[in-house]
């Protein structure tokens, strides 16, 4: 993509240079949308809505090529049943439960891992690398940054 952007910047004149680059990003969206029609629904979500026949069919399709009696399918089904029952029995769980007495450590672990990953600066470098190269006085900033990306 970075090289497509470079090609658009160098080879195309006028506003169509950025229109092509930003238009191309729509293509993966179409691919995802089209392929999702062939995707099964998540068995766990179906279970939480009580659609057990569909859960069984989906699991058989995913793990045993459609064989409903496969032991792996039955084991998964049992596990999902347990998980759904457990989730239904627990009442009064809210968003603020994440910051409860025992949970806040887990919440902190989960969120700070993502936070530190961002603070490492990878994304910042990606966004602003052209300006960094410009300040450093490198010759062809667009090409250099495209290759590095």
């Amino acid at each position: 993509m970075f090289l497509i952007a470079y090609g658009c910047a160098k080879g195309v004149e006028g506003p169509s240079a950025f229109r092509i680059a930003w238009g191309i990003q729509g293509i993966p969206g179409f691919i995802l949308l089209g392929s999702l029609f062939f995707f099964p629904e998540s068995p766990r979500w179906l279970g939480s809505k009580g659609r057990w026949q569909e859960v069984e069919n989906t699991l058989a399709l995913l793990h045993a090529k459609g064989n409903l009696d496969d032991p792996a399918v039955q084991a998964e089904l049992l596990e999902i049943r347990e998980a759904v029952t457990a989730a239904q029995n627990v009442e009064g769980v809210t968003f603020f439960g994440l910051f409860g007495k025992k949970m806040w450590r887990r919440t902190m672990c989960g969120t700070t891992v993502q936070m530190w990953q961002q603070l490492l600066g990878g994304n910042v470098a990606m966004y602003y690398i052209v300006y960094v190269f410009q300040m450093a006085g490198l010759g062809d900033q667009t090409l250099t940054s495209s290759i590095i990306q």
């Binding site: 930003w22 969206g29 995802l32 999702l36 995913l62 990953q117 994304n123």
Partner: protein, 130 residues
């Protein structure tokens, strides 16, 4: 430079909102349909950016695309989790993650943005890095 900062940040802002909304959307319509919704939002965002007449339209377009990034980056991982067999949980999603839209849709925009808001189950492996 301020304008560039706003253009850059608008997608992160959008994905923040998208990731917050993703849980509720997914609970009501299911993962498959929420991902479909996200890809439609992504296409709309791409169209808005593609037809930009000024910086404001570009910022709005990136905000809309950001919503889709927020939904996919939290729902794709949990979808893969749901599809994989339990003995492989925590392993399967990691390598699939690098091939699915979660990563490469934003890559196609020349800027990977992750909201930083992940599903509960995925907290096991993000340390392995993107």
């Amino acid at each position: 430079m301020l304008t560039i900062a706003q253009i850059t940040a608008s997608m992160s802002g959008g994905s923040f909102l998208g990731a917050l909304a993703a849980g509720a959307i997914c609970d009501s319509v299911g993962r498959r349909k929420s991902l479909m919704l996200a890809s439609v939002i992504w296409i709309i965002g791409a169209a808005i950016q593609c037809s930009s007449q000024n910086v404001a339209q570009l910022i709005v377009g990136r905000l809309v695309s950001g919503l889709a990034v927020g939904i996919t980056s939290s729902q794709v991982v949990s979808s893969v989790y749901a599809f994989s067999i339990s003995s492989k949980h925590g392993f399967n999603p990691k390598w699939l993650e690098s091939t699915d839209t979660d990563t490469w849709v934003p890559v196609c925009l020349s800027c990977r943005t992750l909201a930083g808001t992940y599903s509960r189950k995925s907290c096991r492996y993000p340390t392995m890095g993107y």
